[in-house]
């Protein structure tokens, strides 16, 4: 079902989430992305009905549910550590939601059979949560949340507590599950990679405000604020002014200047994602490409890629694939050329900040 938040304002203790306007479409996998303390969990719990809104409305499938208690919403929440009931067996956990409403015995066992088969947890039914592995716990938590066929499922950092390998396989599972069931899903995370991998659309939350909502590509290449740019790992953000020089639009500021593609002059913020910057020894003077010479300040090995920090004199972070590093072998103090296309630079108008 479609979930709509209209000018929702929440205050919990001295923490506030302000002016949230958001529509999550029916069957959509929506990812709420934000750093720790940005209000993601509070927003999620508000959608579930666990916090009262100070103002604004929440509607689900055309029905206003702003003041409906959590048990009447049909919105299940899955927490990071899964919050399985430790005193109940896996069967007891999964059946919990089913046994709360006025379902008949045969309805309950039918729903149980369906969800147990879906997650392949038949062999775990008599175990207690404490004896399960991380991956098993997640399956049980998802089974418990989906058993009641909720209108919306909320996932609060479901992958953060897992080691990278398990995380990747469970990420695949979440995708497969969503493709099959098409349950409207809101997934909260602080990991941009997770957001890109899973989200149909992504909303970036910071300091209690929703900064931008869009497809992962939009968020990634066209952040609408410096906050979103920083949070999506666009390391090179410069403040300056765009002006016309010798017929070209040129950005200058923070000790760096380069050609950009722009319609108007004026102050703005230039975002140069580190992966659009490549490194070469000599200029090839291609049209529309900026060549900036700088001194290697640092080389950080990140495994598949390396980060080369050039001082131009502004610090310019360049991500170089490991293969190219073999040819370059940059040493600190060496002079190299950074090159990036003018069209690859994203400009943020200063007043938008």
């Amino acid at each position: 079902m479609t979930l709509t938040l209209d000018r929702v304002h929440i205050e919990v203790g001295d923490f506030a989430v302000r002016d949230i306007g958001l529509t999550v479409n029916d069957g959509e996998y929506f990812v709420l992305l934000g750093p720790t303390g940005s209000g993601k969990t509070v927003l999620l719990e508000t959608i579930a009905g666990l916090h009262r809104v100070k103002s604004g409305t929440i509607t689900l499938g055309g029905r206003e549910i702003t003041s409906t208690p959590p048990e009447g919403r049909g919105i299940s929440i899955v927490y990071q550590d899964y919050a399985l009931f430790p005193h109940l067996t896996v069967a007891g956990n999964v059946a919990f939601g089913l046994s709360c409403g006025g379902r008949t015995k045969s309805e309950i066992s039918e729903a149980m059979d369906w969800v147990v088969a879906l997650f392949g947890i038949g062999l775990l039914l008599h175990r207690k949560p404490a004896t399960l592995s991380g991956g098993e716990r997640q399956k049980v938590a998802l089974a418990r949340a989906l058993a009641t066929k909720p209108a919306v499922i909320l996932l609060d950092e479901p992958l953060s507590a897992l080691d990278p390998e398990t995380r990747e396989s469970l990420q695949q599972e979440l995708r497969g599950l969503h493709a099959m069931l098409k349950t409207t899903t809101i997934h909260v995370t602080h990991s941009f990679e997770e957001a890109i991998a899973l989200g149909d659309r992504v909303g970036v939350l910071g300091q209690g405000r929703l900064h931008q909502v869009g497809t992962p590509t939009e968020i990634f290449s066209r952040p609408n604020s410096e906050f979103v740019a920083r949070f999506t790992m666009a390391k090179n953000i410069f403040h300056g002014v765009v002006s016309k020089r010798h017929g070209n639009m040129v950005f200058a500021g923070d000790g760096i200047a380069f050609n950009v593609v722009a319609q108007e002059e004026g102050p703005c913020c230039a975002v140069v994602r580190p992966e659009v910057v490549s490194i070469s020894a000599q200029p090839e003077s291609l049209e529309g490409t900026n060549y900036i010479s700088g001194t290697v300040a640092d080389v950080i090995d990140k495994g598949p890629v390396c980060s080369i920090i050039l001082e131009v004199p502004a610090r310019l972070d360049c991500l170089v694939p490991r293969a190219s590093m073999e040819n370059l072998r940059p040493e600190p103090g060496e002079t190299l050329l950074a090159c990036f296309k003018a069209s690859a630079i994203h400009l943020l108008r200063e007043e938008l900040r």
Partner: protein, 272 residues
């Protein structure tokens, strides 16, 4: 391996070095101080006198009355105290600290003073005393008086223990249960209560034990019928140490047997 496995390495034992000799000596003194009087009294009792005492109807009556009045007080404490404990563990409201201190007040008030205070409400000439008097319940020199005296001084133990138990229950378990469709009542009875029944049971046992041992507040409200602590005091005052000793030993034996029994029962359930 997962991160948590790395973090939860067993902590290295701290070396006490030169500390353990002085601390061991000081600790030994307090252990002796606690154990000596009780052991000496229990093991110094003449067995034939103990047997006679155990057959004395006055003694049996007093011990029985004590156990049973304390049990009624505990049941009442459980019915009224557990909801309060849940509210205190889950809600934040202005004046909560004051309310919590009030609940613990009976622990620090001298118990004779507590008895006097109770008389101001439950005495024959006061509000509740008169109200209950109309339905034939007297709180002075009656079992009902013993029960309210025990309830007053011992219920804080139950409330505190239950509150601790509810606090230990992760709020997110309750939140998850709500989102799965459980009403607040279903959450309480199916999640919160089953997860802290041990704390509540421990609280009940502590309250019962505290009720059994209560003397000060009880004697102000009710001298007759006599509870075991009052009987011990009376025998000591009128007949002397050697007559008070077997009653005291008997009361200790009965309570110790009951509490060890309960502990064993609890421990078994915990392991299962």
């Amino acid at each position: 391996m997962s991160k948590s496995a790395e973090v939860s390495r067993p902590a290295r034992r701290v070396s006490l070095r030169s500390l353990w000799v002085p601390f061991g000596l000081l600790a030994g003194v307090i252990v002796l101080f606690l154990a000596m009087p009780l052991l000496k009294m229990v093991f110094g009792v003449d067995l034939s006198i103990l047997r006679d005492t155990a057959l004395d109807p006055a003694v049996i009556g007093a011990i029985w009355l004590t156990l049973y009045a304390a049990l009624i007080a505990t049941a009442a404490g459980c019915i009224f105290g557990v909801p309060l404990a849940y509210l205190l563990a889950r809600l934040e409201f202005p004046g909560k600290r004051i309310l919590e201190s009030l609940v613990d007040l009976p622990i620090v008030v001298p118990h004779t003073a507590a008895g006097i205070a109770l008389l101001f409400v439950f005495g024959r000439n006061f509000l509740f005393g008169q109200l209950f008097g109309k339905v034939g319940v007297e709180f002075v020199d009656s079992t009902a008086g013993i029960v309210i005296a025990m309830l007053f001084v011992s219920v804080p133990f139950l409330i505190d223990s239950a509150k601790e138990g509810f606090r230990k229950v992760d709020v997110r378990l309750e939140k998850a249960a709500r989102s799965l469709g459980a009403s607040p009542r279903q959450v309480f009875f199916r999640i919160s209560l089953p997860l802290c029944w041990q704390n509540i049971l421990t609280g009940n046992i502590m309250m019962w034990a505290r009720g059994i041992s209560e003397f000060g507040a009880v004697i102000i409200l009710t001298y007759h019928p006599m509870t075991a602590p009052v009987l011990i005091y009376e025998r000591f005052e009128t007949l002397g140490l050697s007559y008070a000793q077997p009653v005291a030993v008997l009361l200790i034996l009965v309570t110790v047997v009951i509490f060890i029994g309960l502990r064993v029962l609890l421990y078994r359930r915990e392991k299962a």
